[in-house]
């Protein structure tokens, strides 16, 4: 064998992209944790939204009527953590087992690996998120409509808010993928994710106007703005909040793209 006859014919970029996606898709679907995560991401929002709606259906007398879209948002709590951890694990399990070296030896273009992992987990969490969002919306409205507190999907602003609920899972999972690639350790990655998502909410508690001014840049407040029937006036408008929500995973994934190629595997 000589050096020249072993060189393969050029492989077009779409084919290479398909190869890496197929590889990552196989990895994602061949471990049990993916299915457990999806189970949690589907079951807990449905249960919680029904429970919260039941509580909302009997509000204390004299209080303002509750936001009928709030149960759908609140119920995502465990689902968000589950898909966030799934995102983190995408890279950290490979780094902790050493499998990452097999992966990078097979695909030396590491950003392609990052993109493929983000794409398969993104697709899975986006589809799951939207299905769950619309299912828990339907469930919560079924409970609320008994007390005439529900809203219809045909009401302006409602479809967008429900779509945004589904988007939250995607956003958090993508942030997890990026953090996993940067931190490389599971515990550290999860801590970073929780820190990034939850710790900034302390800012919201700051006295006005600081609370609102800083709070509108947090994932949770941006998500809340997008999913509320009546968005708060002291925060960003929904369109800007959507930008804030998408900026978090975008920035983290960009940082990951830089870190992943600079460091030794």
């Amino acid at each position: 064998m000589t050096a020249t006859d072993t060189r393969p014919a050029p492989v077009p970029l779409p084919v290479r992209a398909r190869d890496v996606l197929a590889s990552e898709w196989t990895k994602l679907l061949s471990v049990r944790s993916t299915y457990w995560t999806l189970l949690i991401a589907v079951v807990t929002p449905l249960g919680t939204s029904a429970l919260v709606a039941a509580a909302f259906a009997h509000p204390p007398k004299g209080g303002a009527p509750p936001d009928p879209l709030l149960p759908g948002f609140i119920s995502l709590e465990y689902a968000v953590l589950a898909v966030g951890v799934m995102g983190v694990l995408a890279f950290t399990t490979e780094y902790s087992t050493g499998l990452i070296r097999t992966t990078f030896a097979a695909v030396p273009r590491r950003r392609a690996v990052l993109a493929a992992k983000a794409a398969v987990i993104g697709a899975l969490t986006l589809v799951t998120g939207e299905l769950v969002a619309f299912a828990s919306f339907a469930l919560a409205q079924a409970v609320l409509s008994g007390q005439h507190l529900g809203v219809s999907l045909s009401r302006p602003g409602v479809p967008g808010a429900v779509l945004a609920d589904g988007l939250i899972l995607f956003v958090v999972a993508m942030t997890g993928v990026g953090l996993g690639a940067i931190v490389r350790h599971t515990a550290g990655g999860i801590a970073a994710l929780v820190g990034l998502l939850i710790v900034p909410t302390i800012l919201v508690a700051l006295p006005a106007p600081w609370g609102g001014w800083l709070g509108r840049f947090t994932v949770i407040e941006a998500a809340r703005q997008l999913t509320a029937l009546h968005p708060a006036t002291n925060l960003f408008a929904p369109a800007w909040s959507l930008l804030v929500l998408l900026a978090w995973p975008a920035v983290v994934l960009l940082a990951a793209a830089v870190a992943i190629t600079r460091r030794d595997a």
Binding site: T6, D19, V20, S30, T102, T103, A265
Partner: protein, 310 residues
């Protein structure tokens, strides 16, 4: 063909590879030898594009690894057989690796059969023994039918049967005209597998030679001489410029003069010689001579691992 040229790799203050240059050619099993910590694994990682060199280059078939498209079709490597996701099945692992380089399922099935893993293909890897993981690693390395293969300490922790299987396998791969680079810290292991040897210590090249030449060049090559007039004979030998080391039982170990010369010398002076035995050092001895000064972490007394049974 693997070409490493003036390769340097530093990790902070530690220089793991220090100006290493060598070429690994097809058709042979080339042993990559050195004490633990000599820089073998680091060199292999740089060849695979996993670690970026501080300076110098490593090329496979004339190209940098990171420039390769579908690299598994050109280089197959087994660095750490235990680097697996415990929850994945053997087949799923191989399929995920294969797909990344556009390799289909029939080839995966073929490799499972070749490595004898077919019966356990659908078992999760958490239950695999080290031997089974080594076989899986070899199956993964061969997926792309690559002309270049690299194995890092492939027999570590294997039983006798597993070692024999891997040895035979590597020789067969080289006989097919492939480039095979196998690292080990055990000379005894390489003696039975490798035709060529690249010996490194503290990140530097110590020898790039054939197994036979390495033995030939060892300083331990000597002649054992027994004589009733040993002291007298020793004086004569030393006068000829050779070195004489007395052994415990009164025999002489002579370096620098071969057996016929010693015999003739004794005969000239009428000295009876009772034994005249040319001694070839074991490959292990030759290796220890070479690497003795380059061992990073030397134990006060050699551990069993460092001095394997011959």
């Amino acid at each position: 063909m693997i070409e490493v040229d003036r390769l340097v790799k530093r990790f902070g203050p530690v220089t793991a590879v220090d100006g290493l240059t060598f070429t690994v050619r097809p058709g042979h099993v080339t042993g990559f030898l050195g004490p633990n910590g000599a820089g073998k694994t680091t060199t292999m990682r740089v060849i695979l594009g996993l670690d970026a060199p501080t300076s110098g280059t490593a090329r496979v078939n004339g190209q940098g690894y990171r420039e390769l498209v579908r690299p598994l079709r050109q280089v197959g490597a087994l660095l750490d057989a235990t680097a697996l996701h415990p929850g994945r099945t053997a087949e799923a692992h191989l399929v995920s690796v294969a797909r990344s380089n556009g390799i289909g399922r029939p080839r995966v099935a073929e490799m499972l059969q070749l490595t004898g893993l077919e019966p356990v293909a659908n078992r999760r890897l958490r239950g695999f023994s080290l031997g089974m993981k080594q076989r899986l690693g070899i199956a993964a390395a061969l997926l792309g039918d690559p002309p270049i293969l690299m194995f890092d300490e492939p027999v570590n922790g294997l039983d006798t049967e597993g070692i024999a299987w891997i040895r035979q396998f590597m020789r067969a791969l080289a006989a097919e005209g492939r480039t095979v680079l196998v690292s080990s810290h055990l000379m005894s292991e390489m003696a039975q597998t490798a035709d060529r040897l690249i010996v490194i210590g503290r990140g530097r090249l110590i020898a790039d030679t054939t197994t036979a030449q390495l033995i030939e060049s060892s300083t331990r090559k000597n002649v054992l001489v027994r004589s009733p007039r040993a002291a007298e004979l020793a004086g004569l030998i030393t006068a000829r410029g050779a070195t004489v080391t007395p052994e415990d039982d009164g025999a002489l170990a002579v370096t620098g003069l071969d057996a016929p010369a010693i015999g003739d010398l004794a005969a000239e002076h009428g000295i009876a010689v009772h034994a005249l035995i040319p001694r070839t050092p074991s490959l292990e001895d030759a290796y220890l001579d070479l690497t003795g000064e380059s061992t990073d972490f030397r134990a006060a007394s050699p551990s069993p691992e460092e001095v394997p049974a011959r």
